[in-house]
Symmetry: C2
Subunit: 409 residues, 2 copies
């Protein structure tokens, strides 16, 4: 049984049988592991989750795998052998949740579909992630993160207003979907704790994208036109000054985001103080959002003339301290090297058994002051013995037999 | 008590006192409402949640508010009056969860901070959303969605490789943060159901962004360089053909995304069949991802020559049916007008008491075949009587007195 030993250890004793790979599924089950669930990954003995080799030519587990599989256990089961399939069924009988994100139809062809498993364990919460929803014209199609972002509206709203559609940097199609399923699993677990009731949860990545794009759907409902690409502006209109402004330096991210809210006229007045243009406070040409919207270039240039004389960090500090929302455009290296994230437990350094120290982003929510501790992603098959003994009561002889017959890795 | 009456009604009887506004907080509590929680929004009698007027000049509730406040209740309480503050404390004693996302320090200045409320109700789960984390150098700074996306690394990875940083279309800084808090609340509720234990949960929008950007952090760990802007490619490298390809039509979203996985050599071979270039199947100049990476323009042009002759819908259908991941770049209007989303319950049409029918995106997870039903966002103060009677046992006279004294709206 996993025990975090800290505030976040909310679901100790809950068991998840995790047949997912890459990211949409693993990002979901990782959140459960961070909350104290015992998550057991069932992997192919030959290489395991393909995410282990993501982006690498060969060898050790990729950082991608480490990031999405912290705090989990791993067992290796040969699903091409009927005894391997039976082993999964035996584990499913002992599990509270089972989850899979194979290609459409694959889990059913293995004989491990929802009907089969729910007949064996009526109180299980059986969960599936697919690219397109059951009943969609594309329900049999393959999908990856970028396909979901294309078909779910995200790309249509990302990019320069006069440019082509782009993919956002974050893997919203995968991790964004995983988060919505996690919420639903936790809801079903809460009910199950009271009633013992099982369920069948299904999410499609395309559908999940629309959840994150509701600011775009709101724009459309308000204006009657599809949500446009926003560039660096807001999905509900841009009121100058607002957007990214160039700062000192010539790096690709030497910019600061400055936002003056329509709802708070003080933002603009405070900003004038920062940039040394107190003379314009109260000037009717600039004082209202509507007035500034008539001369966006002039207003933005005024702010840029100041930001160009400061680094992005200085600009963020000075503008932010004046009570105006401002943020430096930070890259992954700058975030990694900022010690305050590790001090606060938002990043944590794990000691991986073969790769050594690895600094990674953990779960960002603090429970009574601290985020859950991060433990390294498991080596392939690391928990064959302990899980099969603990869940199924198998003894040394039985484990040896399964291993000799290549049923477990 | 809210009862959905369907599969998703997991948390009936749980009470959330919701002091949030705009989106990061409301998107979180809305997920709880969809799962059957009774979510009571505490609003300013003068206009309420400013999200009600988001993007509008005046008048009725904006679509933005409808999207983020479905299935909730609303009460109006004057927090400038000590009796109003006392009313909130009385409600907090009856609540399972309390949540706020005011500017830093504001809730404490109101006398409704974590220490005060947890002393009154030790088993409450008290939750806070801020822009920057406690202990961050910027913990007192204001933040909005785009500030979090700038400071959390998202913008640095979004945009054309040779262009400036951009903001993704989705409001990841807000809704993305809300989802992570929802997961944590549900974990804490699960534990509380067994132990009665309360907690204090805190999330910062900047920190939450790093969770969604772990594909970028993985790239950095692998290469030693910050995650770059990805354009339309993948965060872990782009292998041609991969990306958006122009299709027939001259609309801003007449593109189809095509992906050929390095892990599955059949994708490329199948695609050659689709585009009528079976002659190249097995040709060493193109057969491996490494070979194609040596001539990306040539490979991409070959695919584009075919996609230009088809609409994006045709292209998606033909390429997808051939077993190659493909997705049309769809905009919000195309998604809204596609009847299959409503047939599957992913979009639902509510009947708003003053605005009439409104078609909106609901919760995309199906519980035993159907997503939770969507109910309209409440009118301002719609539930003053029923909530104050149900939670606090106030009678008609007491309600009349509070109303006469302008304590409730």
């Amino acid at each position: 049984m996993t025990t975090n030993g800290f505030g976040a250890n909310c679901l100790a004793g809950v068991r998840v049988l995790d047949m997912t790979q890459f990211e949409a599924g693993p990002s979901c089950t990782e959140t459960l592991a961070w909350l104290g669930v015992e998550v057991v990954k069932v992997e192919n003995p030959k290489g395991g989750d393909p995410g282990r080799a993501f982006g690498m030519k060969s060898g050790n587990d990729d950082p991608y795998f480490l990031n999405f599989n912290a705090n989990k256990k791993s067992i290796t089961v040969n699903l091409k052998d009927p005894r391997g399939l039976q082993l999964v069924k035996d584990l499913a009988v002992k599990a509270d949740v089972m989850i899979e994100n194979f290609a459409p139809g694959a889990i059913e062809r293995l004989g491990l579909g929802a009907e089969v498993i729910r007949a064996l364990n009526p109180s299980i919460i059986y969960c599936q992630v697919k690219g397109f929803g059951e009943g969609s014209p594309y329900e049999k199609n393959l999908a990856f993160d970028m396909i979901a972002q294309a078909c779910g509206g995200v790309m249509s709203t990302t990019g320069e207003p006069d440019g082509r559609p782009l993919k956002p940097g974050p893997s919203l199609g995968d991790t964004g979907t995983g988060m919505l399923l996690s919420i639903s699993i936790l809801g079903a677990l809460y009910r199950r704790k009271g009633t013992g009731q099982g369920d069948h949860l299904q999410i499609a990545m395309q559908d999940a994208m629309m959840h994150y794009l509701r600011i775009g759907f709101s724009h459309q409902a308000r204006t009657g036109t599809p949500a446009p690409r926003v560039g660096d502006g807001g999905a509900s209109g841009t009121n100058p000054p607002m957007g990214i402004f160039p700062t000192k330096g010539d790096g690709p991210n030497d910019y600061v985001y400055v936002f003056t809210s329509r709802a708070n006229p003080e933002h603009w007045r405070r900003l004038l103080g920062v940039i040394g243009r107190e003379d314009l406070i109260g000037d009717a040409r600039y004082d209202s959002p509507a007035a500034r919207a008539e001369r966006p270039a002039e207003v933005n240039d005024m702010v840029a003339a100041w930001t160009r004389r400061h680094t992005k960090h200085e600009a963020m500090e000075i503008i932010g301290a004046a009570g105006v929302p401002a943020g430096a455009v930070l890259d992954t290296m700058e975030l990694t090297n900022d010690p305050t994230f590790e001090q606060r437990g938002i990043m944590q350094t794990i000691d991986h058994p073969t790769l050594g120290p690895f600094k990674m982003v953990g779960w960002p929510v603090r429970f009574s002051g601290r985020p859950p501790p991060v433990k390294p992603a498991p080596l392939l098959g690391a928990n064959n013995n302990d899980v099969l003994t603990d869940w199924l009561g198998l003894g040394t002889d039985q484990l040896g037999g399964l291993r000799a017959d290549n049923i477990i890795g």
